[in-house]
Structures are given as C-alpha cells and as structure tokens.
C-alpha cells in the first residue's frame, strides 16, 4: 500500500493518543493507494485487544461506499508487543482483501509501523510506502 504522509501521521497520532490502549481504524483506498483514513473507537478500551465499534464500522463503510472507495486497510496498534500479527489478530482477520497495519509503540521512541496480508491463517508482510 502507498499512503500519503498526512494519513500516516494521523494514524500514528491516533495510536499515541489512545495508548496505552490499542487504537483501531479503517483506510479507504483506490487501487493500492490510501485515500482516506477513519479513526474508530476501540470498544474494548484495553492494551490487550481491539474491537472496532460496530457503529463506527457501519458509518465508515457507508462513507467508503459513498466515495466509491475500497476498504483497503484496517489498522490497530500494539502498545506492549512487537508490530506483528498475534494469534488473535490472525484468527480474527475476516478481511483477506485488506492490508492489516499494526502500529508498534513498544519497541522504541519511534513508532514501528508494519503492514501485512492475512489470508487463510497465513501472514505475509507487505510494503507500506509513505509518500
């Protein structure tokens, strides 16, 4: 995925603002390019899990449909572990067409942001190009 610097910065800002709880959100894309970013509520409100608000999910999905964008990415943060999909992330990856982005805040002062495809339980890191 290619993501504009401004959207990338918003995503990291969201992660830092919610820490130590995990944050989550959705990304609209056109092809492989991120066009819009939607911060959502993590209704679990914990450093251990995220559950994207069902109300936010519908609102954002309708916004994507209205703008003729695809759901290209789902992001969340890891505030206590490396930015790699956990078994829970893998088990609950119900959108194989989306890129799963994890913002890692535990590994140093700079956010470590990684992107993955998770398909049928298999994880493959994807390039995330910030322009």
């Amino acid at each position: 995925m290619e993501i504009p610097q401004a959207l990338y910065d918003r995503m990291v800002t969201h992660a830092r603002a919610e820490a130590p709880d995990e944050c989550c959100g959705m990304i609209g894309t056109r092809g492989a390019v991120a066009v819009s970013l939607y911060e959502a509520e993590n209704t679990a409100h914990t450093p251990l899990r995220y559950e994207l608000s069902s109300r936010d999910q519908l609102r954002i999905q309708k916004a994507l449909d209205a703008a003729d964008l695809e759901l290209g990415g789902i992001y969340h943060s890891h505030t206590r572990s490396a930015p790699y999909p956990s078994q829970t992330d893998i088990n609950l990856a119900f959108y194989p067409g989306a890129v799963y982005i994890i913002i890692g805040l535990a590994t140093g002062p700079e956010a470590d942001v990684r992107a993955y495809r998770i398909v049928d339980g298999q994880v493959r890191e994807e390039p995330l190009v910030v322009r």
């Binding site: 679990a44 559950e51 069902s54 759901l71 572990s81 956990s86 609950l92």
Partner: protein, 92 residues
C-alpha cells in the same frame, strides 16, 4: 420480507450477490434462510450455540441488532439488514 446487503467480503459465499431479498419476520429467521441457502456463511453468522456470532455485526436500518432485540428483532418489508464481519484482534 426484507433486503439484506451483503458486504464484498461475504459475496463469494452467496454466489456473488450484493443484495438478497428474503422472507422472514425477524432477524433470526432471515439469517437462518441465508445460512440454509448458503451453508458457507453459517459459521460466520452464527456461533456454535445458534446465537449471533460474537464477531459479526448485523444492523437493521443502521441500528446494531444487539441494541435492539438481537435475533428477535422484527423486520418488515421496507427494512434493510446489513451484515458486516467484525474487526477485532489483540496483541496476544
């Protein structure tokens, strides 16, 4: 009878349909018709005990049925259901 909107991620399991029009008096009946007609959707929509799967969100006219009457939520002809697999995970 109500209209059910199918998200892109579930369309393969329902033969590519974006919308289904189904007879039923409540959410549970409608979803049972969907899963009977398209068995590949069953595990995504229902949990092992027959309740709504914890990781699926179902809306009637944009309201999450969990804040209404769940599977007993009544639906009418002009009502629209939307099914969205949940987005969730964690660091373990």
């Amino acid at each position: 009878m109500a209209t059910i909107r199918i998200p892109a991620v579930l369309r393969n399991a329902v033969g590519g349909a974006r919308e289904l029009t189904i007879e039923g008096a409540n959410v549970g009946e409608l979803l049972n018709v969907v899963t009977s007609t398209y068995p590949d959707t069953r595990d995504q929509i229902f949990g092992p005990g027959g309740d709504l799967n914890r990781y699926v969100n179902v809306y009637v006219n944009d309201e999450d049925v969990r804040v209404l009457r769940g599977l007993d939520t009544a639906v009418g002809e002009k009502d629209t259901l939307v099914i969205l697999p949940a987005m969730a995970g964690g660091d373990r």
